[in-house]
């Protein structure tokens, strides 16, 4: 059974076809082939959100999962992210949650927040 997918690795959005032997076509780059196989076996996503910051130049700080997490875990990851409160200052790359839900993935800050007294 052939499956048709749209690659989400980059904005190019390649139209991928996977045949019954799990052979991928339509991909512009190798990432597309990996995406197609992953998507049919264990789909994953990067999750981006914000966490609360106290005493900062902004009241929230943007964060992301340092690598993709299983798609079915997205809402559980969001619950963990929503429990966190940081104190300014925050720097890009700071670990906000270490090894979230034992998925071997950290939640890291993606912007700098300055301390404001």
């Amino acid at each position: 059974m052939e499956k048709n997918l749209i690659c989400i690795c980059c904005p190019r959005g390649c139209h991928l076809t996977v045949d019954e032997n799990m052979s991928v076509s339509g991909n512009f780059c190798p990432r597309g082939a990996k995406y197609a196989i992953d998507e049919l076996t264990h789909p994953t996503r990067i999750v981006t959100s914000t966490v609360k910051v106290n005493d900062g130049s902004y009241s929230v700080c943007s964060v992301k999962t340092a690598s993709p997490v299983p798609k079915e875990k997205i809402f559980e990851v969001m619950e963990e992210i929503n429990k966190v409160e940081l104190k300014a200052p925050v720097s890009i790359g700071d670990i906000v949650i270490k090894n979230v839900l034992n998925l071997s993935v950290d939640i890291i800050a993606t912007e700098n927040i300055e301390l404001v007294k």
Binding site: I6, R45, I46, T48, T50, V60, S62, K71, I92, T110
Partner: protein, 420 residues
């Protein structure tokens, strides 16, 4: 009056990349005027990932991408004025900006790079029928509220328009606990990137209603209901197809418009993109004034913005150094059958060996050639299996293809014939 070599209007991705390029080509007297409180422009509120694959070969979020460029500017000690708004540009290239500390300041620049980005079409622009309650806002506004200030604009949200920001926000609202009831798109196809349909709507089972629009907003003080209807081929709502959603917010993602009035106000020629007309140097009809980024035409990828901005930065540096030659060529470029617009609108000099042509098609099309016809002769054909309006095409052609150096270039879509 203060005098500088280069003044850049806008400190977003375009302005920053242009500033770095001009600096690295020897220009030291540069100032950037930025309206926001930080450098990076709209990227700072685009916290999703997917930026920078072309530029950095890795997937970054908007704030991370912005930071890398802001740092390049700071490392070069380029002067930036934040929370400062440009109020006018004169034909003599005197720029007035205002801010809280300096008041109103006039600066005379040898060259100006316009990099002021774009703004969102709003409810007034499309005449949404019905009441005028609170809770109707643009996707960018909703994005700013949640991603920079932590406020969610509603609990049950309907989205009109399937542009990328609308799709991204559908996912964002869902992750933050709101229910997104659906996305209505007046066209028979989405205006967003394919990957965003997949990972923002399909992943979360959010319905996309193609060929539908909002036919009624209902609510006394706040949005209470939104009614959508299917539209006919002339985009008129078809009676009897109404669907009503109980919701407390209507979010609009219905298009972006170049923020080009500072230039159009002084008679600089405007193109079909609503940005300035430019040559391959990205120079406008006023010599010494250049334009790049979303104020020139709306981009879908920041990588393309950066590439374009570097051309503007190099061209402005050359202009200031007396090394920009515009005389040798004089070719007009026009978009024909199936092509919505083409940039640049003309070709002037020969300082660059290649011309980056950028175009968008009018509607999704399959199995076509993008055909470049110069003085009646086809000089280049590029085959496309699928081509869609939401993805800008960039085709780079050597200047040597334009042998006569004068005349007209037309770019059109030609169907690929069967059995060919």
């Amino acid at each position: 009056m203060r005098k500088v070599d280069l003044l850049i209007i806008g400190g977003g991705s375009a302005g920053l990349a242009a500033a770095v390029e001009a600096y690295d080509r020897g220009i030291r007297s540069i100032i950037i005027i930025e309206r926001g409180a930080e450098l990076g422009g709209i990227l700072n509120q685009c916290i999703h990932n997917g930026f920078g694959l072309g530029e950095f070969k890795e997937e970054l979020t908007g704030p991370e991408f912005a930071y890398r460029f802001a740092k390049q500017v700071q490392d070069r000690n380029i002067e930036c004025h934040l929370l400062s708004t440009v109020t006018s540009v004169t034909p003599n290239k005197v720029v007035t900006y205002v801010n809280e500390e300096e008041g109103s300041v006039e600066v005379e620049a040898k060259a100006i790079i316009m990099a002021a980005g774009c703004y969102e079409r709003n409810a007034g622009a499309i005449g949404v029928p019905g009441d005028r309650p609170a809770g109707v806002l643009t996707a960018g506004q909703a994005q700013l509220m949640i991603n920079k200030f932590g406020y969610l604009c509603g609990k049950r949200i309907f989205i009109l328009g399937s542009g990328d920001i609308g799709l991204i926000m559908a996912r964002r609202f869902t992750l933050e606990g709101a229910k997104v009831l659906g996305v209505a798109e007046i066209m028979p196809y989405s205006n967003g990137l394919n990957r965003n349909i997949v990972q923002c709507l399909n992943d979360y089972d959010i319905p996309l209603y193609l060929s539908h629009t909002v036919s009624q907003v209902i609510g006394k003080k706040h949005v209470e209901k939104v009614e959508i209807s299917q539209v006919d081929e002339k985009f008129r709502p078809i009676p009897g197809t109404e669907k009503v959603f109980d919701c407390d917010a209507l979010v609009l993602s219905i298009g972006l418009i170049p923020n080009n009035t500072l230039l159009s106000d002084i008679g600089i020629k405007v193109s079909g993109t609503k940005g300035a007309e430019v040559d391959q140097y990205l120079q406008t009809s006023l010599p010494g004034v250049f334009s790049c980024g979303n104020v020139l035409h709306v981009h879908d990828l920041v990588d393309n913005v950066v590439k374009e901005a570097r051309i503007a930065g190099e061209s402005a540096a050359r202009y200031i150094q007396g090394d920009l030659h515009v005389e040798e060529y004089d070719i007009s470029c026009a978009a024909k059958d199936g092509v919505g617009y083409i940039l640049p609108q003309h070709i002037s000099g020969s300082d660059y060996e290649k011309v980056d042509f950028k175009l968008r098609v009018r509607k999704p099309t399959q199995n076509v050639y993008i055909e470049f016809i110069y003085n009646g002769e086809t000089i280049k054909r590029v085959f496309k299996g699928v081509i869609i309006p939401s993805e800008m095409e960039v085709i780079s052609l050597p200047l040597s293809l334009f042998k006569e150096k004068k005349g007209a270039l037309e770019v059109k879509l030609t169907p690929k014939e069967v059995n060919q």
